[in-house]
């Protein structure tokens, strides 16, 4: 590899050619502050916070875009650099809504952090604040442009990562702002609700549509039974909201915390309905292969991906598995089976899912998911961030909580359900079960070919004379590329797993906000995924069919995959939507 030699604050470093000053400085142990830069997503040198000085270079250089050159001598903390950064921050603050105390990103905001580090005068430049209406009409995301600093990270995530581009830069100068075309609400845009814009935002301009208040209200109602369940990935990320290292598995503390939110609260394990999804989905796959059904079959547990197909590739709707997502299945199981079994009126039950996702908030309201036409199966879908805020407000010392089990009867799951939270996990779990349906003696459990960080993973398996060709990707830009390949007849997969968010649910739009130090320098996706694969490895059961709860619920209620009751409660349909604005 060709390298270059340079000095950062007199520290010599050797870095690969093509590195930026920012990357080279990190090698020298120096973190240059950034705001608009987001690794792999946004690199436009626009905010001017990363300015540095270099010998024999005129003016200051933007470290995030300036290449590390042979012999370059860079200084990151000279008076000129500090003055420039400070002024830039003061200019940004001049039009920023500075109601930090009540901001959802208080103490967790990149702008606030830098303002403190540089000791800025937030009122140095007096301007007439532009007033923007807050857009809270969509079921998933709230935009408050009064807090936006026009860093364009959300725009880049939407365009470069997700290939959707329903938000963009509008107008210029003081009137410049971010929004959808013709300044329409996000609710009227062909947005899929993935929330990658939210986790890209360095400030409080983008948040999920918070539903915590509704949950607190239900908990305060003695006539309600409040049934929580947590998605597979939450255990791998929730700890971050309490300062624990990335990739800490906090399953036990999470269950303990939820149970302590109220006397009428139960904490269930959604990994169980991940298992249930696999039973139905693997059977659907085998059925489609054997009967010449529509192939490839696409996974349907990711609501961002499902909505993407509905808006942009409705011709592929028949390829989506008809299985409900684990969230939707759990809602149906609780308001159906659980209420029946315990003699409870479903109207006295309040179902709260905790999911890594903003799009699941929309999914919860899909009319075709109602197993009873009178009410939604899932009442509220909370993001990981919202659960963390609830735990904090409840005054619980999360790190000091004991590890407890989830509540029976939905307390146990298999490793196959656990890995749902990482890209490739659903497919791997489905392969474990499908292989067993085809060949009762099939032994392989680890399908490592479909794991890992590569953008697209493909594999072909031979089971009992049947060839199963599969592919996995995550991120909707990558999904689009696969769909185009299939359209052109260049790929003949049997099953494709797609997650809207890069890396899968562990990097979902509802996960704890990361600091830029993490986003730009730490492989947080790998660390979070590892927590799930580690748990899978040591799970008592690893193939979804082996779960005793799965056996129980089919024996007691659903009879067999695809049977009438299973079909009513566990399968769904989709709606073709326009790719244009409403």
């Amino acid at each position: 590899m060709e390298t270059v030699h340079l000095k950062i604050n007199n520290i010599p470093v050797e870095v690969p050619k093509g590195y930026t000053i920012l990357q080279a400085a990190k090698e020298a142990g120096i973190e240059i502050p950034t705001l608009c830069y987001l690794k792999d997503i946004n690199c436009i040198g626009a905010c001017r916070v990363c300015m540095v000085e270099a010998k024999n270079r005129r003016g200051l250089l933007a470290a995030c875009v300036y290449p590390a050159e042979e012999g370059l001598e860079v200084f990151t903390n000279t008076p000129a650099v500090i003055k420039s950064r400070k002024t830039t921050l003061e200019l940004l603050l001049s039009t920023h809504n500075k109601k930090c105390l009540s901001c959802v990103r208080n103490q967790n905001c990149e702008l606030q952090k830098l303002a403190a580090e540089y000791g800025v005068d937030e009122d140095r430049f007096q301007t007439e604040d532009p007033i923007y209406e807050i857009d809270d009409l969509s079921p998933y995301i709230v935009r408050d442009n009064n807090k936006c600093i026009n860093c364009m990270r959300c725009v880049a995530a939407c365009k470069n990562v997700q290939s959707i581009s329903v938000i963009g830069a509008i107008r210029r100068g003081f009137a410049a702002h971010v929004g959808s075309a013709f300044d329409k609400s996000l609710n009227d845009a062909p947005c899929v609700g993935c929330g990658q814009c939210v986790v890209s935002c360095p400030v409080g301009a983008l948040t999920e549509k918070s539903q915590e208040a509704k949950v607190w209200e239900a908990i305060a109602d003695p006539n309600k039974k409040v049934l929580f369940f947590t998605a597979p990935s939450i255990k791998a990320t929730l700890g971050e909201a309490f300062g624990m290292p990335i990739g800490t598995n906090v399953e036990g503390k999470m269950a303990a915390a939820i149970k302590r939110l109220g006397e009428n609260v139960k904490a269930f394990n959604m990994d169980f309905t991940a298992d249930l999804t696999i039973i139905e989905e693997a059977n659907e796959l085998v059925e489609r292969i054997k009967t010449g059904g529509t192939l490839p079959m696409f996974t349907s547990c990711c609501p961002g991906w499902v909505k993407f197909v509905e808006h942009y590739y409705p011709e592929f709707i028949p390829n989506l598995s008809t299985c409900k997502s684990p969230q939707a299945m759990f809602g149906a199981v609780l308001k159906g089976y659980y209420c029946e079994k315990n003699g409870i009126d479903p109207k006295d039950v309040f179902v709260v899912s905790v999911i890594p996702c903003t799009a699941k908030k929309f999914e919860a309201t899909r009319p075709q998911l109602r197993s009873n036409p009178e009410f939604d199966d899932v009442d509220v879908a909370l993001t990981t961030r919202e659960l963390a805020r609830m735990i904090k407000r409840a005054g619980l010392d999360f790190a000091a909580l004991p590890d407890e089990d989830f509540d029976a009867p939905f307390n146990k799951a298999t490793g196959g359900g656990v890995i749902f939270g990482a890209t490739g996990g659903v497919l791997e779990a489905a392969l474990r079960t499908a292989a067993r349906i085809l060949d009762g003696n099939f032994e392989k459990i680890d399908f490592e070919e479909v794991r890992g960080p590569e953008v697209v993973r493909e594999a072909t398996y031979q089971v009992a004379g049947v060839t199963v060709k599969v592919a996995v990707t995550s991120g909707l830009g990558n999904a689009r590329a696969i769909l185009e390949k299939i359209k052109k007849g260049e790929a003949d997969y049997n099953m494709v797993e797609i997650m809207a968010c890069p890396g899968g649910c562990i990097n979902g739009g509802g996960q704890p906000t990361r600091s830029d130090s993490v986003s730009n320098y730490v492989d947080f996706k790998a660390l979070r995924s590892k927590a799930l694969y580690d748990q899978d490895k040591t799970s008592e059961f690893r193939v979804c069919d082996d779960s005793p709860i799965i056996k129980m619920i089919y024996d007691e209620y659903f009879e067999a995959p695809g049977k009438e009751k299973a079909h009513h409660y566990l399968h769904t349909s989709y709606t073709a939507r326009s790719k244009n604005y409403q």
């Binding site: 365009k159 581009s165 509008i170 929004g179 075309a181």
Partner: protein, 168 residues
């Protein structure tokens, strides 16, 4: 924006736009020349036209809208039968043309950059028409009106309104 004025594009205009898109489609940076042509064809860039451009070039509407709102020469609202242009250049501004603009806006009930619902008048501001000696100045179509005061502007507009057989 301009919601009060329905889009009245013709088949012929659409055909022209599709040709322009086809000619530019594979060129880098095609959006800007296509928007220029689109504005030539339609006189302005309503959502219907921007959507055609987006679909034709395979980019999102929000990107098209971003470019259309970045450059002040692009107009998102149609121009009226009579185009009123109030000069806000230095000489006119010093002579109080901001008050002239405000009076015109008040009289027609629309803001600068907009068009009346009946499609008769649109108001814009401009920078110097080369008649600084007559400041403050406005143009209606090709006619220049100088030495304006908030008091005498109304009568000038009334002449045009009367010509169109209306009463404002």
């Amino acid at each position: 924006m301009a919601d009060n004025i329905p889009f009245k594009g013709t088949q012929e205009q659409e055909q022209k736009l599709l040709e322009v898109i086809a000619q530019n489609k594979d060129l880098p940076g095609a959006l800007l020349p296509v928007l220029h042509e689109a504005q030539e064809i339609y006189g302005y860039l309503p959502i219907e036209v921007q959507q055609m451009v987006a679909d034709g070039l395979g980019i999102s509407l929000s990107e098209v809208y971003g470019v259309a709102t970045f450059y002040s020469r692009f107009s998102l609202t149609p121009k009226g039968k009579h185009k009123i242009s109030v000069c806000l250049g230095t000489a006119c501004y010093v002579k109080g043309s901001d008050k002239i603009l405000a009076e015109v806006e008040k009289k027609l009930g629309i803001k600068s950059g907009e068009c009346t619902p009946d499609g008769l008048f649109s108001i814009d501001s401009c920078r110097c028409v080369g008649a600084c000696g007559l400041a403050p100045v406005m143009m209606i179509d090709e006619e220049v009106y100088g030495k304006l005061t908030p008091e005498n502007v109304g009568a000038i507009l009334d002449k045009y309104i009367a010509e169109e057989g209306g009463n404002k």
